[in-house]
Amino acid sequence: MSTLHTAGRERVALLPRSAEELSELLARCRAEGRRVLAIGTGCALREDLLLQERDQIISTERMRGIIEYEPAEGVVTAWSGTRLSELRKTVEAGGHLLTPALPLETERTLGGVIAAGASGSDRLRHGPLRNHVLGVRVADGEGIITRSGGRLVKNVTGYDLPRLHTGARGSLGVIVEASLRLFPLPAVRNGWWLDAQSGAHACRVALQVRATRAQPLSMTALRLDNRWQLHVELAGHAAVIEDEERILRGISSSFQANEAGRTDLEQLMLRLRNQHHLSCQPARIEELVAQLEADPTTGDLLVDPGIATVRWTGARPVPEVPPLSGVQRALEQRIRKAIDPHGMFLRG
């Protein structure tokens, strides 16, 4: 058992060590009529989550370890409680890059990241996490564990249920294990940054980079202490990096190589991860950022101009997202009922 603070209260979480223990716990919860909140370490829970007294938290954080990693294959399979840091260390030793790149990797678990559908800054090059979850095993409300997908880079056998679980925030069951597609570890990685006059300027430069042959791993614009910076991370063969550095300097002579700025970036990502969040079409990002920075209540800002997402602190609220259509809402309810007929799993 361990404890978890949620909505200002300390709650007990059960920590199974294996899939079998997890199944037993779920069967017991089902028998006792308890709802279940499945978490990894709980570091990315929704802030508005309200638990009732009888609800049971189950954490997969002790279900850890690599199940299969064959460097000649480019796929890693691990228990859901495996920390991203452990996964990264293992696959990097085999010459692979793990995506997503997220802050707090020592706390984040594989299952938690998949449940949160959390893509990292490296999605600019490698795409969203949901593209890379090749297979999952998931425990349902009766403790029955089922499999979908597999451990292969290409596979269309059966419905793509891994995509349904990715981003479902544990509401469809507990992820027991998962397989991820890996990418070649770049020979060289380096960061570049420039001081920008404004957020709109930073976005404009980033979109100029996007329009060239350069393929950065990530591009992030941030406003910290009223100072705008654009960070561009290059990764690949040395000759490609040299070429891309020339491209950056051609766009702006102010670009400078930098490693130190990374710390600021990670700190800001941490500070902003539960704050306001919005995405749009890339062509609109400059306008959106300009609106936000013009608002005197806006504090820190973190922008991914290539993907067109922005996070910020401050009073300016996130524009209301249109509600799901009636057809979509009804269909989602039927799917949830089909997979979790007793309504056992809470959305974390």
């Binding site: 089922t146 596979n155 059966g158 089909a338």
Partner: protein, 475 residues
């Protein structure tokens, strides 16, 4: 209820008389897809022009409790578009408009019946391209690609169709319109677009598709390397994967395929003295192509590759690819019918599994040609046969089963891009437990409680019956 004159008249009012094909001579062309030995003439063929017409037709079919089989161009190879007895086929052949290209944000919205290659041509002038490129891309439709989650040679780098679908308009089995067409960074709610892609027409019909477009690379270089054995070509592929080399495609053609191609109108200039041809593509910036080439060339040499040719001119490249993409057609010279098997194996086991599939076919006196997406471990053992010979057809199907079993035993999968359809229905329990299949059945029934959409495909009937016995909510 079923298809009767009242229903036909109601459908004509919605689709117009040219949107409803009821004469047998009109329906026979729809009796099968690329799985030629499975045939059933549909009771009716409907050709709506847009989402609204599709929804109207689906509502009428829902009221009449008629089974529906969606169909793109009918190029699928697993029987996904094989009609069902008493059922209606809804084709997307009149939904061929590219609705919008947003070059700045790099996406396009198309009607489901747009041919894959036509979408590519429509994007060219914007400096963009659509990555999934099935071999049938000159005929297959984007909607069909969504149904099957199709692949193609360049999926080695870019992934199957699902990685490129940003949004869909879906008509549900009840005739409701589910509009998920707006491209979003992440799905709002469950990833229904991701779930629908590759669901083989069993959850509804996609009428509009929003796809991701990519910038055309600065340099594209096609390589042809020759090998003195198929084993060596397979080993070279495994070496490339293990070395984390980054071409965008790694394809292999064996000797029988080379001969068929070179003796056909699709002649690509593949030397016929080679036992295997490897086709690679490198793309990106000049620096990136050169850097990758420096990694790849020595790895090929270690496995005895010879006669390496590198083509950059688009005409030369197109010629080299024409042989690969037209290989199935060229095999028509060998026998009247071709059974294209589709299975995936771990890439480190390529040689062993390619050998095993050859042994299985030889043991049954069948001729096998291999042309496959080696980089993804996606095998396509192709068996030439004559479907008019029932005894030969039996051996073909037995060989197909044995090959699939061998691939699964090696940690592989039943399909990398063709889907399960009718062809591999009975093999699903080899890969999934009854509990695994039951979840899929329940998800299907959440969309289509009566299982009227493409019944009898992908999910074995027994698994679905077990699901009903353990109905959701049952205690």
């Amino acid at each position: 209820m079923g298809v009767d004159s009242t229903l036909v008249e109601a459908l004509r009012r919605e689709l117009g008389s040219d949107g409803v094909l009821d004469r047998r001579s009109q329906r026979v062309p729809y009796e099968c897809d690329g799985l030629a030995f499975a045939r059933q003439v549909p009771e009716l063929v409907l050709l709506p022009r847009d989402t609204q017409q599709t929804a109207a037709a689906m509502r009428l079919l829902h009221e009449a409790r008629v089974a529906i089989v969606p169909r793109g161009a009918g190029t699928g190879l697993s029987g996904g578009a094989t009609p069902v007895e008493g059922g209606v086929t809804i084709g997307t052949g009149r939904m061929r408009s590219v609705l919008h290209i947003d070059a700045l944000n790099r996406w396009a919205r198309v009607q489901a019946g747009v041919v894959n290659a036509d979408l590519g041509h429509a994007c060219e002038s914007h400096g963009l391209f659509y990555a999934p490129d099935p071999s049938s891309q000159k005929a297959c439709t984007v909607g069909g690609n969504v149904g099957e989650n199709s692949g193609g040679p360049h999926c080695f780098r870019y992934g199957n169709t699902s990685q490129h679908v940003l949004g869909l308009v879906i008509v549900t089995p009840q005739g409701e319109i589910l509009d998920l067409s707006e491209p979003q960074v992440d799905p709002q709610g469950l990833d229904l677009v991701g779930l629908f892609t590759g669901s083989e027409g069993m959850l509804g019909i996609a009428t509009e598709i929003t796809v991701r477009l990519l910038p055309v690379p600065e340099v594209v270089e096609t390589w042809v390397a020759l090998f003195r054995s198929l084993d060596a070509a397979c080993d070279a592929t495994s070496d490339l994967i293990a070395a984390r080399a980054e071409p965008s495609a790694i394809e292999i053609l064996d000797k029988l395929t080379i001969e068929a191609v070179e003796q056909s109108v699709l002649r690509a200039g593949y030397p016929q003295d080679a036992e295997a041809v490897m086709l690679l593509e490198l793309e990106g910036s000049e620096a990136s192509v050169q850097a990758n080439a420096a990694v790849i060339e020595p790895l090929l040499a270690v496995r005895g590759a010879f006669g390496l040719r590198r083509a950059r001119a688009s005409a030369d490249r197109a010629r080299l690819w024409a042989g690969r993409k037209g290989a199935y057609g060229a095999m028509g010279r060998i026998a009247p019918d071709l059974y294209v098997c589709d299975a995936v194996v771990p890439r480190r086991h390529l040689r062993a599994l390619v050998r095993r599939t050859t042994e299985i076919c030889s043991g049954k006196g069948l001729r096998i040609a291999n042309v496959f997406h080696a980089g993804d471990g996606n095998l396509h053992p192709n068996i030439s046969y004559d479907r008019r010979n029932p005894e030969e057809l039996r051996r073909v199907l037995e060989a197909g089963d044995e090959m699939m079993r061998a691939c699964i035993e090696a940690g592989g999968s039943l399909s990398g891009e063709h889907g399960i359809g009718l062809e591999k229905l009975s093999a699903m329990p080899w890969m999934f437990s009854s509990e695994d299949l039951a979840v899929m059945c329940r998800v299907r029934e959440a969309w289509d409680p009566e299982c009227r959409m493409n019944p009898g495909k992908l999910l074995p009937i027994r698994a679905c019956m077990e699901t009903r016995m353990r109905a959701p909510g049952a205690t």
